[in-house]
Symmetry: C2
Subunit: 251 residues, 2 copies
């Protein structure tokens, strides 16, 4: 069929993958993706050729996937969450568009339930108003740019979701972020930490801006920091949309 | 079963609704939601009681839904996209948590494919790096707070996604946003407009920061403004993740 689909798997289980995404994988003869993601969907991969590589070989994996499509096969490139958010979509689409239009395989980006939405659902409703997503990974982005973004998002009173908050190599960034945010927000601002959202071993912690860096955070965690209006109620984290209950909504 | 599920439908079609979301609706005896959303899923609503109201009656709709659950019925409250992003989750969870724990129905928020992810997939890969989501609806948020957020997001060089960019009543805000952004970003910064993402009549426009306010934008549109690195290539909008192709990725 000579088509590449860049597929967002959702948080993990087949139960949160859209039918459109699942069909793209089922129809593919070749599936490419990071080994961890391949494992999440191994039940539907029987008989397919797998291009699974470690994280540091994304470019090579994308190239192999495109070569398979150029050789006439139907290919799915998979990322967990939404493939368009720190996933594989940008690289694959860019490389495909380098090909002359007459040679280019058909392609489609298929959206998935993003990690931040999955984590928010576990916490209650922390993203009900404007929010900003920031990755703390400084491997390809200078740390100064990341802290500038944290500062801007704090100034704007955005709810802030932190991707890649910590890894084995990066352990000090979260405390730096905390210091910046404490310049702008109350120390009691709610902070939610969800680890393995939508996957086996899912856990959540509710903490505060003053204390959250003492909690267990790892590379499978997503950290959501409330805005000035966010509150915790009976174990859930809620950001109001700005209305009074007695008032009409929306426009 | 006495359970309330707050369900994100995804962008529109059943093909982009997760199995978990669909099951919650199928198992519900009562489904509550804005009429437009109810219509999107009418094929799976046979025999169910529907609480569909106009937009301005969200509080009443939530109350009725909770009363149905308290009367022993299984209820789904639905929003398009993700229910936790400008949707019904905040209000419903807040109202449920007012009830004493012994009386409170079980509840769950079920994440969906968010509108911004659906729109991004149509445009290519504009959200590959840090981004901010801002609603321009000033019905419940003072306009000064909204413009402050636009300014902060511009200062932080975030990709910016605008929800509710325009309505019949609100027609001037988009030009104000444009004026602010032009203080910070090049006039040729790519801007993507997706209307009815993932629904019948889906359309996309690629424009620039200088020109996008001349394009057709309505209340079913989502506007995505690139950061300083975003580019357009062969009709698609891509924000790089910050790597060179020859370089290894991730950590």
């Amino acid at each position: 069929m000579n088509k590449i689909s860049v597929v967002g798997l959702g948080p993990g289980g087949l139960d949160e993958m859209t039918p459109k995404a699942r069909r793209a994988i089922e129809q593919a003869e070749v599936v490419a993706g990071y080994n961890t993601y391949i494992k999440l969907i191994e039940n539907i991969l029987g008989g397919k050729k797998i291009i699974g590589r470690a994280m540091r070989q994304e470019v090579e994996r994308s190239q192999l996937a495109i070569e398979e499509a150029l050789a006439g096969r139907n290919v799915a490139v998979v990322s967990s969450g939404d493939a368009g958010v720190y996933g594989m979509a940008g690289l694959v689409v860019d490389m495909l568009l380098d090909l002359p239009e007459t040679q280019r395989p058909q392609f489609e980006v298929i959206a998935g339930v993003s990690a931040v939405n999955a984590a928010a659902a576990v916490l209650g409703a922390p993203l009900m108003h404007d929010f900003a997503i920031i990755s703390l990974s400084d491997l390809m982005t200078p740390w100064e740019r990341i802290t500038r973004r944290v500062r801007s998002a704090a100034e704007g009173d955005f709810v802030i979701a932190l991707y890649n908050p910590k890894s084995k190599r990066r352990t000090t960034q979260l405390a730096e972020v905390q210091t910046i945010l404490l310049e702008f927000r109350d120390k009691d601002t709610p902070v939610g930490i969800v680890t393995n959202a939508g996957r086996p071993g899912e856990s959540k912690i509710l903490s505060t801006l003053e204390n959250f860096t003492r909690e267990e955070v790892n590379m499978f965690s997503l950290v959501i920091i409330g805005n000035s209006q966010t509150y915790v109620k009976a174990g859930f984290m809620i950001t109001p949309r700005g209305y009074e209950r007695s008032q009409p909504l929306c426009d």
